[in-house]
Structure formats: structure tokens, C-alpha cells
Symmetry: C2
Subunit: 470 residues, 2 copies
């Protein structure tokens, strides 16, 4: 029996008995089996959506991850209201799953709100652990030597891919749409982002992760991620004080560089001790647990120094890719990733509110016009970045540019902060959200075409047995 799981059948009675004694955390104890129910039911919905979406996408010859994103939209705030988060003024009564729990447990509105928030927090953390594991897996699949070889190209692609859409977006908004400087800069900044999670997953599904183009894209997406953090810091301090917090910007640049370089250098030493430790362990989980201690600790470090958890996980994967335990680790991480990564993609889709695309809502119309402009800049800006690659004759520049297009959840952060801080008016906020959604959903099929894979079979498992024995 799980601690306190036993309470609900007579929660009224026990709650009444418990109320006057403060030292036992009664609120938590009473809610927690219901929170668990909510989490389990949400996971069932997420898994059903992810499998359904992935399988339909595959049969239509799209990357499975696109299907997971679309299925997420269907079960999320835009349609079925099953996978919901307490954001944008949504309350527990907007969530179908909360309504089900309410019916099963006769909860007070206060208790329901608490449970909705806790449940959503758990699902959010699971989604973040999902993308951490995805980037750990991508790091394991990437080749550090090859990444070093394409390092300069990746840096150029990232810098051009940040500068071009930022400049074109800001200038265009100011000149064509007469937007004031600060909101225009903010919207321009939102154009710089690249969703490393979506890009790398699509590359992996297309079997292109280890190609030179794939490694340039992953390298550039990592650098773009760091540049994005710096751009947001600059824009946010500009918006707040009208000045740029130079010290913070320098801290972020130095911190990011030191973190990535340091972890890779130290990794060379850790490599050998990792294998030595794994060989000595004799109980279950002798490879998985040390690997995840390292991955989660690096993710914590990345998060703690105000960078990104996923950067730490990616670095951890790169380091462990150099060890002899690598092939075993690859096989063991697959089922773990299969279980946790879909939570990330489905929730990204579930959070995207397609209501902003509805042209019958008057305030969306102005947004749709600006959005069209932003989407054009978003696509062309990254395609230019692809053309900036030099010294690589015969490389697929279009594929590299297309690989940088999806903004994903990163762009939504800009829109959320901009709107909350009052910098962005409604049309501009809506247009950024539309730009983010469309670049995210268009990039996977575009990438497939850019790699000329339209007629080749996707190099993924075709039978149950094959997958299981991978």
C-alpha cells in the first residue's frame, strides 16, 4: 500500500478528524492519491495520443514526432481539453481530467485547484525529464570528434541564424508595421530561437543525426540555444531599464562556454572512471543508474548556473558516448526514452493554443498579417544561415537551414514573457505565437523533403521484434 493512499474512501471522516492537528501535512496526505490518479490518467491520454499520432504520421510518410505534436494539439487546450495546464487564465474546471476526478471524489473547488496545479507540475517536470533524456540520448548518438570538426561551421550557422532573423524581423516590424522599437526588438528576439528538441528528434527519425548536415544542425542548435538565453537576457534588461545589463551578459557567455568546454574536458577523465565503476557494480541497474547520476547531475548544473538542463544532459551524453559501455547504454536508454520523451512532445502540442489562428476573432486579424511577415522572416532567416556554411563542398545547405527553422517551446517563452511584461500588445503576441506554431509544425516535413527522403523508407524499426531486439 502506498503511503496515505488509503485515505480517499472515507476522506470526509478522516479529514474532519485530521483538521485540528497541524503537525501532519494533512493537505498533502489527503490530496496525494487523487494527484496520482490525475497523473496516471494524464499519462494514459498522452501515451494514447503519442502512439496514435506517431503511427498516423508514419503511414502518411511524415516524421512520427510531427504526429505526436499534432496529437498533443488535439488532446490539449485547442480541442479536447484533456491535457491542460494552469496557464493563460485556465482553471481546473477547463480540464476534462479534473472534471473526471471531481466526479470520482466529490472535491471542493479549492482542493480541485490544488490538485490541478500539483498534477500539472508533476506532468511538466516529467516532460522536462523527458527532454533531458532525449538530449542525453542525442548526445550519446552524436560523435564528439565529428562535432569538433564541424564546430566552426555550426558556430557560423548559429550566429547567422540568430542575426539574420533578428535584424530583418526588427527592422521590418518598425518600417512596415510601424511597431515601436522595444516591442519590435522583442519580436525580433523571438525569431532567433531554435527548438533543439524537435530538430534533433526529427533528424534521428530521418536517420540523419550522424550525417555531416545533422551534426552541424545539432551543434548549431546547441549554440543557438545559448545565444537565445543571452538575447533574452539582453532584451529583458533593455525592456526593464532601457539599458543592457552587461555584467549578466558576460556572465552568461563565459558561463556557457566554460560549462560546455569544461564538461567535455573533464569528461575525458570521467570516461575511464565511469567504466571502472560500472564494472565493479554487481546489483541491478549497474549501468543505467551511474549513467543517470551523471546525466541528471550535469542537467542540474546546467540549470543551476542559469543555463539549461538540456545542455548539461547533452554534454553528459557526449562524454559517455566515448566510453566502452556505450553500446549497452544505448540499448538500455531506448525503452526509458520511449516512455518519457513522448510526454515532452505531446505537452508542447497540448500547450499550443490554435485559437489564435481563428480569423473570425477580430483581434486575431491584425496578428495574422504580422504573423505572415514573421513566418517569412523566420524561414528565410534560417535558410540564409544554412547558406553561410563554408569550406564544405557538396553539403546540403538547404537541409541545414530548414533544420534550424522550428522555434518550438523557446519561441513561446519569448511570447509569454513579452506579453506578461506588457511590452507586446495582443496582435504582436498572437503573431509570435502563430509564427512559433507554424515553424514548429512545418519544419519536420520540410526537413524530410530537404534531405531528399520523400521516396526512401524511414530507417526505423518496421517490426515489433526488430525494435525489441535493437
Amino acid at each position: 500500500m502506498i503511503l496515505s493512499n488509503i485515505l480517499p474512501p472515507f476522506s470526509g471522516g478522516i479529514a474532519a478528524l485530521m483538521a485540528p492537528i497541524p503537525f501532519l501535512a494533512t493537505v498533502v496526505a489527503e490530496d496525494s492519491p487523487i494527484i496520482l490518479s490525475g497523473v496516471l490518467l494524464t499519462l494514459v491520454v498522452i501515451y494514447l495520443a503519442s502512439k496514435f499520432g506517431a503511427e498516423v504520421a508514419r503511414r502518411l510518410d511524415f516524421p512520427p514526432v510531427l504526429g505526436e505534436l499534432v496529437a498533443g494539439v488535439i488532446v490539449g487546450v485547442s480541442a479536447l481539453h484533456l491535457v491542460m495546464f494552469p496557464e493563460g487564465g485556465l482553471s481546473a474546471s477547463d480540464s476534462v481530467i479534473m472534471t473526471v476526478l471531481q466526479g470520482l471524489n466529490q472535491l471542493t473547488p479549492d482542493a480541485l485547484t490544488r490538485i490541478f496545479e500539483s498534477q500539472s507540475e508533476v506532468i511538466s517536470v516529467l516532460a522536462e525529464i523527458g527532454v533531458i533524456i532525449l538530449l542525453f540520448e542525442i548526445g550519446l548518438e552524436s560523435d564528439l570528434r565529428q562535432l569538433k570538426e564541424v564546430g566552426i561551421q555550426a558556430t557560423v550557422v548559429a550566429c547567422v541564424g540568430v542575426a539574420a532573423p533578428f535584424a530583418a524581423g526588427t527592422a521590418g516590424l518598425m518600417m512596415l508595421f510601424h511597431v515601436a522599437a522595444i516591442p519590435a526588438i522583442f519580436a525580433g528576439a523571438a525569431l532567433t530561437a531554435t527548438s533543439i528538441g524537435i530538430t534533433s528528434k526529427v533528424l534521428s527519425e530521418l536517420g540523419q543525426l550522424k550525417s555531416k548536415e545533422g551534426q552541424i544542425i545539432v551543434g548549431a542548435a546547441v549554440i543557438d540555444d545559448i545565444l537565445g538565453i543571452i538575447v533574452l537576457a539582453v532584451v529583458a534588461s533593455l525592456a526593464k531599464t532601457g539599458e543592457i545589463d552587461v555584467a549578466n551578459v558576460i556572465y552568461l557567455i563565459v558561463g556557457a562556454t566554460a560549462f560546455l568546454m569544461g564538461s567535455i574536458l573533464l569528461g575525458g577523465v570521467f570516461n575511464k572512471s565511469f567504466v571502472a565503476i560500472v564494472d565493479r557494480l554487481k546489483t541491478r541497474g549497474n549501468i543505467v543508474i551511474p549513467a543517470f547520476i551523471f546525466a541528471f547531475f550535469m542537467a542540474f548544473l546546467g540549470n543551476a548556473i542559469h543555463l539549461e538542463a538540456i545542455l548539461g544532459a547533452f554534454a553528459a551524453g557526449l562524454v559517455l558516448d566515448e566510453t566502452d559501455a556505450r553500446n549497452e547504454l544505448d540499448a538500455l536508454i531506448k525503452p526509458i526514452a520511449d516512455l518519457l520523451v513522448p510526454i515532452f512532445f505531446v505537452t508542447v502540442g497540448a500547450r499550443a493554443d490554435l485559437g489564435v489562428l481563428n480569423p473570425t476573432v477580430p483581434e486575431n486579424r491584425a496578428g495574422l498579417l504580422i504573423a505572415t511577415f514573421l513566418i517569412v522572416v523566420a524561414i528565410i532567416g534560417k535558410l540564409i544561415a544554412g547558406w553561410a556554411v563554408f569550406g564544405q563542398p557538396g553539403i546540403n545547405r538547404v537541409a541545414i537551414g530548414v533544420g534550424m527553422i522550428p522555434r518550438g517551446e523557446v519561441g513561446l517563452v519569448f511570447a509569454g514573457i513579452g506579453s506578461a511584461s506588457g511590452i507586446l500588445d495582443k496582435p504582436l503576441e498572437v503573431s509570435i505565437i502563430i509564427m512559433v506554431i507554424l515553424t514548429t509544425f512545418l519544419a519536420p516535413p520540410f526537413l524530410r523533403v530537404a534531405f531528399g527522403l520523400s521516396t526512401n523508407p524511414i530507417p526505423e524499426s518496421t517490426t515489433a521484434v526488430e525494435t525489441a531486439s535493437e
Copy 2:
């Protein structure tokens, strides 16, 4: 970049900007990267503790799970204060990990409390998912036909194992210690529990899960779990109104029986469709995701009808054990279980406050005397249950009895509810907690001796390669 992960470097500024706009969930957005940091750091500590404890235990020839429990005690409330939960009057400042996060992020006391609660909720749910996956795995390893064969023996063992310690404990407390009837009944009820998680994990580690004794113990522990829910319902309504809520008791008995029987009967049908579905899926996770949709849905059902999530997961494992996909599924679940199950055992240890064993605290002394009595009853009561097995010549009755001894987290629920409701005074509460801790920690080594395994090697992996290729 993860949604809102970008906030902390300038959280002061953004928080100030965000404060007046209510529609964005600023609290959640601002806290969530710090909650993620807390979860990651706690998981690193839990994994370090679990591996360290398991390896030391194995070298000392104890079951690894005992090492995980003890390591949990060391990192928990009793010693290092690393893995802490907001229970029993503990606040964020008692947690070393929260102090670290506080140092990294300059949080207000309110924010720290919020983050402590959210972080603990996430770890609690992860632990519960861990024990759900453990019971799913145990179900997969169990053999439904063999369980049916030993069903009557298991029922007898469970009933005797509930009745004997309940009667002896209640009578002894009233006659020897002059405890009033209601608290004596409550303490007697706490003696009935069996921790199915700890028992089945130890059996699995000893390679005895599939022996006749092992299957009787697992079957009896499942029935004991259901009896425990009923006993608690009876005792709680007795304590509250002085009467027994007969309708609720009948509902629980009928519900539990219908749930287990129904899921196994329906499972026979679901079996074939499961394999048919798995064979048609062509994207990653084609076996794992359908299996977990089933397991989590059954766990949700078990929880929703006010039984137990783990009963649903166990039933799901039993059903899927009958399918052709079973061997592949076994292999795929191993790394997932290795990652999530230790969270459960370490947190069970971390929540156990060994401070109640300190005889220099005056109020513990009365408890220690009663505890000695309760421990004797707890052990003898379950040993009698083992001797109640009939029609099985040559069976190891001692092992069966010993297998039922660990009370685990179940006993702590009784102590918590009894103390919160004011039924139990401090000495009686302390004595129940001591009884729970000691039976939990003594049972694993006892079980090993009872199976006569003291000189045989534990049939578990001995090298890294072997584990990985299992």
C-alpha cells in the same frame, strides 16, 4: 530551451514586471526551473544512495533492497536531511537540498516553501510510479496459473496473518498495558499489514519469486493488502462514530474481488488484441507504450475505485505475462524499473524517523517497551500464518511466515492516521513506528536465512555485461 526555464537569471526583474498581470501563471513559471533543479538534485542523491546501499548490502550478503532502505534512512530525516518531505512539521529550512537551492537562487521564504512542497510532491509521485512499475514487473514475473493453484493457501495465509496479530496485539495491549479498547484496536490493526513491495522485491532478488513459497507469499500479500484497506476502513469508522460503516466495508470487499477477478477474466480477451496491436505498430516504443497504457490505466482504475494503484499494476502484469510479447516486454521493462523503483525504496527509508528509537528521549521509553511487545506479536503472528498452509507437504512454512513480516509503508499509514486523529497517544504511536521499522529491516535478512540461502550465491547478475544482456 524548456518553457520558462530562461527566467531565473533575472527573476527579480521579470518577476517585478510580471507581478501586476494576473493572466499568466507567474508563480508556476518562475518556480518551475528551480523545482526542476530540486527534483534533479534529489534524484542524484537518491540514485547515489540506492547504488551505494545496494552494493554494500550485496557484499555483506544481504538483499540489495535492504541496502537501499538503509541508505534511504541515511540520506533522509534521520541523518543527512537530504531527501526530506514536508511531513511531521518539517519545513523547507530542514532540507539541505532546499538550502542549496536557496543559496543558488536567493528565494523568499514563501517561494522556498512552495518549491519544497512541489518538489516533494513530484518525488512522491515518482516513488509511487516506481512501486507501480515494480508491481507491474512482479506481475509479469508471476505465473497466473501457479497463483491460481496456490490461491486457497494464499487466502488462508493472508487471513490468519491478519487475524492472529490483530487479536494478539489488541488483547495484549488491553491486558498487559491497560490501553483503552479503541487505541488498542487501532494498534492491532497496524499489525495486520504486509508490505507487498518490499516482500516481492526481496523474493525477486533471492530468485524465489517463482517458487511455490514465493507465489504463496505474493498471493497472500496481495490479499493482505486488500484486507488491510478493509481493516483500516472499519477501524477508522469505529474511531470516528463508534460504529462500523457496513456499507463501505461491503463496497470495498465486493469492489476488490470484482476488480481482481474482472481484470484477469477480461485480460484473457485483451491478451490477443495486445499482441495484434503491438505487431501493427511501426514507430519507436511499439511494445513499451501499449504496455504502459494498460498498466497505468489499471493502476488508475485501482486507485479510482479506492483500492490501490499497485493492485491494478500487478493485475496488468499478470495479464500481459500470458502474451507472446512477454519476453521482449520483460527485457524492456528492466531498465525502466531500474531507474524508477529505487526512488520508492530510498524514500521509504528517508521518511522513517529513527529518532523514535532514541531511549534518552523520555517519551520514547514507554514506547520502546510497548514496541518490544508489538514486534514479538508482529513476528509470531505472521509465522503462525505460515504454519497455516495445508496440503503442501515439504513446503517451507517458515519462509512463508517470514515473507509476510515486513510492514513497510503500510504500517506507517496506520500510525499517521491514528496519531492525526488523536486516537493514539505518543508512546503508542512511537511503538507502532518502531515495530514498522524493525519488521521492515529485519525481514529481508531473515527471509534469506529462512530460504536456506546463506551459503548459496544470490542468483543475480554478477558482471556488467550480463546485466545489460539480460
